[in-house]
Amino acid sequence: MSARSIPWLKYAAPPNFYGLADRLTPWLWAGAGLLFLVGLYVGFFVAPVDYQQGNSYRIMFIHVPTAWMGMFLYLLMALYGMIFLVWRIRMADAMARAIAPTGALMTFLALWTGALWGAPTWGAYWVWDARLTSTLILLFLFLGYMALHAAADDRDKGGRAASLLAIIGAVNVPIIYFSVNWWYTLHQGASVIRRDGPSMAPEMLAALLIMTAAFWLYCAAIVLRRAQLEALEREPGAEWAQAAAAGALTREQRERAAATATIGDVGDHDEGDTLTGNTATKQEGRN
């Protein structure tokens, strides 16, 4: 495979990915834990009481980062889905699949904390305005992706169908983001990313940004761990996977496995089906 020469494809080989994730995740966990502690401290004890809402506004330190993460993770999942559809790199599908549950969790938390904030502030847990409805659709897209991926017997087949759903659903993300500008909504407009700068006291903004960074690191860690499991599940009999599952993957084992790893059919040839993926059988049929 000539694509092997492209350097970024190194981590498309499952053993290499596994090793990289092993090295990264401890730092990500530690960073997430530290930033959660700092963020919650600043959020609860340093940030002042809001002039209108009193203390209930502090829900936003969970609500806003989780809502951002939900949207960001969806776009990332769609991007990995696209890499899988176009380059057929299996590790990309494993990453997309690993993102989905965390994305669903983040979106659910955003909706849930939003409802808890809405009850005292608006006087309603839920309204069908454009922001809330499109965010609910985002949750259903994550759940639909997971269901569709699991529905097919063949992992690659399920991955292709689910990836297509992820790409089509990506249209929803800009709708969520811009809904408060495009239509009158009960949900307020953006406070942080505005042309005239954030409309928020600096201590509040600091807590919000620290919590956002904490959620980022947490999501990165949990997604990498889940993708590692997925990589092992895909090659249960392989020597490197056995060693990795036992927690004793040596560098030499990893490099040997990576050298012979099948990363997927990157599509360096001219023949074959475009999206259905029956390249090999088609070519055999013609010969």
Binding site: G123, A130, V171, W183, S199, D270
Partner: protein, 150 residues
């Protein structure tokens, strides 16, 4: 053309198609996607709508009058151009106050007053410490210059 280029073109084509279709649908349903209409839009209507609808605006300064015998409250909702008189029976959300954003749901009565059966406070995008808001007021400043309504 290599296989992966064909796939890339196909995927991008699907994405472009879906985007255009979505944009057209959203544009067609524009009026239905908006959560509320403004008092000016209510006044511009030539006939009184039969079904319930929502109106959003600011609670007009000095317009709130409460009935001492019941939970009835009357106030005006304005978009700074037109003002709509509203009557409501029930408990108002904590954030309800004069000069604050509000969304009401109900229908127009015989006398042209909006009979609200639901009142929701609309929070704006400003977050500031209570002391800062106090200081602005004490200095004779106008808070509304920080608060851009709609």
């Amino acid at each position: 053309m290599k296989q992966r280029h064909k796939r890339l073109v196909l995927v991008l084509g699907i994405l472009a198609g879906v985007s255009v279709a979505t944009a057209l649908v959203l544009n067609a349903f524009r009026d239905n996607l908006t959560f509320f209409i403004t008092p000016s839009e209510v006044m511009a209507k030539t006939e009184i709508p039969e079904r319930r609808f929502r109106v959003g605006g600011i609670v007009e300064e000095g317009s709130v009058t409460r009935d001492t015998q019941s939970t009835e409250v009357r106030f005006g909702v304005t978009d700074t151009v037109k003002s709509l008189p509203v009557v409501y029976h029930g408990i108002l959300p904590d954030l309800f106050r004069e000069g604050q954003g509000v969304v009401i749901e109900g229908r127009i009565g015989e006398d042209g007053t909006f009979q609200a059966d639901r009142v929701m406070a609309r929070h704006d995008e400003n977050y500031m410490p209570a002391e800062a808001a106090e200081a602005v007021k004490r200095a004779g400043g106008d808070l509304s210059q920080f608060v851009d309504h709609y």
